[in-house]
């Protein structure tokens, strides 16, 4: 909160009950038009095949009334909260406490994550969920390199996830290679496909780039479905070897880890091992990304997001810069894919639909583009939150959608919108999201 923004005069408040009532009436009218056919009239095929219908005006009235009331409440809240551009002066004590909490949040989260298998050792469901969340944290961090840092909108990220998963599955089932040999290979193959995707899209920007990457994701999926002799087509690949602890399998057998350590075998051992495996992979992604940001290549990515023309004038090869961003992001996607394959033991094209790409992209956007902590929090909220609403049955998606809309209203630039500088002389101060560009592809 700089001095200049504090000096900004608050805009005059929208006044009066008449204004609120007018707005609410308009909202109610729109709702009436929208829902009169959606809710007011119900049609169904009758026993003779003819269409029968009946009206539900009571429900319709309830919905319109709810919109009317809701509109008044929202408007009152907005007036109480003040205009959007108004800066509230927070007392320094609270500010300091908040900034301290902000700084402690990441280490606290990390420690908690390390302790999850200890705390929830008996709760298989929570452990599985934690592994899932961490997989998406890793995917989010991988895509963050492409979307958040380099500003290249990639809607086909799941393709690299699929390449990684299939690389491991095929190498392991056909050649008997171990997980630890396949993991780097899966990353390299995914990076290779990232470069391959990068070449045709180098000249494209914004929407056009998004469409081509979307198509690329679909192409990979369709190739996997149709290349039956190699990938097994829609049947997928089963019997993918489970990971070993550097050659020691986590099985109940003689040579298993439990037998060697002289403890009783439990299937939870493998889950805990998988948990720490994905945690290590995710932390590796995070560490590499943080390092890369402070290297010339990372700064070039961010500069590319800010202004491509200026980059060219400074002698930065924008072609290789974009390709390295695609390759790096794809490599992490490949690692995550290999992990996914070894965890599931079975993969099929159904796991690599556009929905996955959209979910990972939503995590990156929701988290605040470029922010590592934000992406982790967003993955927790998206995947964990989605599970939280499981009890709501068919309303789960609705509640989830509303939550996302609200979040985008309050924090349009994501949970953590500001950008931390990569180098500083005196003060390490965050840069307001208003100045940071989103990139144009």
């Amino acid at each position: 909160m700089t001095a200049s923004t504090l000096e900004k005069q608050p805009a005059p408040r929208a006044s009066g009950a008449a204004f609120i009532l007018k707005k609410a009436t308009i909202s109610a009218l729109v709702a009436l038009v929208l829902f009169s056919l959606m809710i007011g009239v119900r049609t169904e095929a009758g026993p003779q095949g003819g269409l029968i219908y009946w009206t539900r005006f009571g429900d319709l009235a309830a919905i319109v009334a709810a919109v009317f009331g809701g509109s008044i409440v929202v408007e009152l809240l907005r007036q109480w909260w003040g205009p959007a551009d108004r800066v509230r002066v927070v007392p320094p004590v609270v500010q300091n406490a908040l900034s301290l909490a902000g700084r402690l949040l990441a280490p606290a989260l990390l420690i908690f994550t390390f302790l999850v298998p200890v705390i929830f050792y008996d709760q298989r469901y929570i452990l599985d969920l934690a592994i899932l969340v961490l997989t998406y944290v890793m995917l989010g961090w991988g895509l963050n390199v492409v979307v958040g840092l380099a500003g290249l909108l990639d809607l086909g990220y799941v393709a690299f996830y699929a390449v990684g998963a299939y690389s491991y599955a095929l190498l392991a089932t056909n050649f008997g290679l171990s997980f630890w040999v396949c993991l780097p290979l899966a990353g390299i193959l995914a990076a290779f496909w990232g470069v391959l995707l990068g070449f045709p899209v180098l000249r494209l920007r914004g929407d056009y780039l998004a469409i081509v990457t979307l198509a690329f994701g679909e192409i990979i999926r369709l190739v996997i479905i149709n290349w039956q002799s190699l990938t097994g087509g829609p049947n997928g690949i089963s019997g993918i070897p489970r990971p070993t602890l550097f050659g020691i399998p986590l099985t109940p057998g003689e040579d298993g880890l439990a037998a060697r350590l002289g403890i009783e075998f439990s299937p939870t051992h493998r889950i805990v091992f998988l948990f720490y495996l994905i945690l290590a992979l995710a932390l590796l992604t995070n560490w590499v990304t943080i390092r890369l940001r402070r290297l010339p290549i990372g700064r070039a990515w961010e500069a590319l997001r800010e202004d491509e023309v200026a980059c060219r004038a400074l002698g930065i090869n924008t072609t290789t810069t974009k390709l390295t961003a695609f390759a790096t992001g794809a490599m992490f996607g490949g690692f995550a894919g290999a992990f996914f394959a070894t965890r599931q033991g079975f993969i099929s094209p159904e796991s690599f639909t556009f929905q996955e790409s959209a979910l990972v992209l939503a995590i990156v956007v929701l988290g605040g583009m470029g922010s590592q902590l934000g992406v982790a929090l967003a993955a927790l909220a998206m995947i964990g939150g989605f599970e939280l609403f499981r009890g709501l049955d068919q309303y789960r998606m609705l509640v989830f959608g509303i939550a996302m809309v609200l979040l985008m209203i309050w924090r349009p630039r994501g949970l953590i919108g500001h950008r931390a500088p990569t180098v500083y002389l005196e003060r390490n101060q965050a840069i307001s999201s208003d100045l940071v560009k989103e990139g144009h592809g």
Partner: protein, 277 residues
């Protein structure tokens, strides 16, 4: 001739479809000299700049850059980032193009990309934190600090570039271009939008770049007080052709130049006249 000429433009033409933006333009820019390219709006000055700095590929003619060691590079054969990387020609833009979401210091670090990329062993040495990379980074920060001091922005090194006042942004863009350690610095209207005091500071900065660092400067400028004060050589363009060249004195008294400005824009003609007195 080649000894004191850094840039030699010969018969440069640039056509966009049927429109001839630059027609058979020839001029030389002296080594360790400030050469100004002036002319009314739409005369083709920025097009010439874009040809020199690789943003356009010229339709015809040659642009030869001769380095201090006698090496000559044909700029019309290079394009894009190679102009800056290989020929060491840096430029600024008419509408400032900083990286607004990055700090002033970061802007200057990005400018040293190619040198730092080599030092970081194409990222791999940097990733493991090799000592050679660390010392290179320290040197890069020192160079950036030197430039921030020179343009008087050391205090604001850690502020976002987009938050700086307009005049500071102009100077930061020049410093950023200089951090690429260019042989020739091309400035597109560096004084646009500056007040009299800021213009004077700019003139001082450009003179110090030429005198102390020995960097040759080519600039487009409308602010005649700046042009007349610092230029060693002035080239006047109108409708894509050169109509006059010479010292600031001789150009100012050239009737063709006055006519061009009078015919184009009364205000600019007055500016030329006034700065003559």
């Amino acid at each position: 001739m080649s000894g004191d000429t850094i840039l030699s433009v010969d018969g440069l033409s640039m056509r966009f479809g049927g429109i001839v933006a630059v027609n058979d333009l020839s001029f030389d820019a002296g080594r360790r000299k400030i050469t100004a390219l002036i002319g009314p709006n739409g005369a083709g000055k920025t097009t010439v700049f874009n040809c020199i700095t690789g943003f356009y590929r010229p339709s015809g003619g040659s642009i030869a850059l001769t380095h201090d060691d006698g090496r000559t590079i044909q700029l019309e054969r290079l394009n894009d980032f190679r102009i800056s990387k290989q020929a060491r020609v840096a430029r600024t833009f008419q509408n400032i193009r900083l990286f607004p979401g990055m700090t002033a210091l970061e802007n200057l670090m990005v400018a040293q990309h190619n040198a730092l990329m080599r030092a970081s062993g194409l990222t791999f040495l940097g990733l493991i934190g090799a000592p050679s990379w660390r010392s290179a980074e320290t040197r890069a920060i020192d160079l950036a600090r030197t430039w921030l001091t020179r343009i008087g922005l050391l205090e604001r090194a850690d502020d976002a570039a987009g938050n700086l006042p307009y005049g500071d942004q102009r100077r930061l863009e020049i410093a950023r271009a200089m951090c690429t350690e260019p042989a020739l610095l091309c400035l597109d209207e560096p004084a646009a939008g500056l007040n009299a005091r800021e213009s004077a500071a700019l003139s001082e900065l450009l003179l110090s770049i030429r005198t102390e660092l020995g960097t040759s400067i080519l600039l487009i400028e409308h602010d005649m007080s700046v042009v007349m004060e610092i230029s060693d050589h002035v080239v006047v363009m109108d409708y894509g052709v050169k109509i006059a060249e010479g010292t600031p004195q001789s150009v100012r008294d050239d009737p063709k130049v006055i006519a061009a400005y009078l015919g184009a824009d009364e205000e600019e003609a007055l500016a030329v006249m006034e700065s003559g007195t």
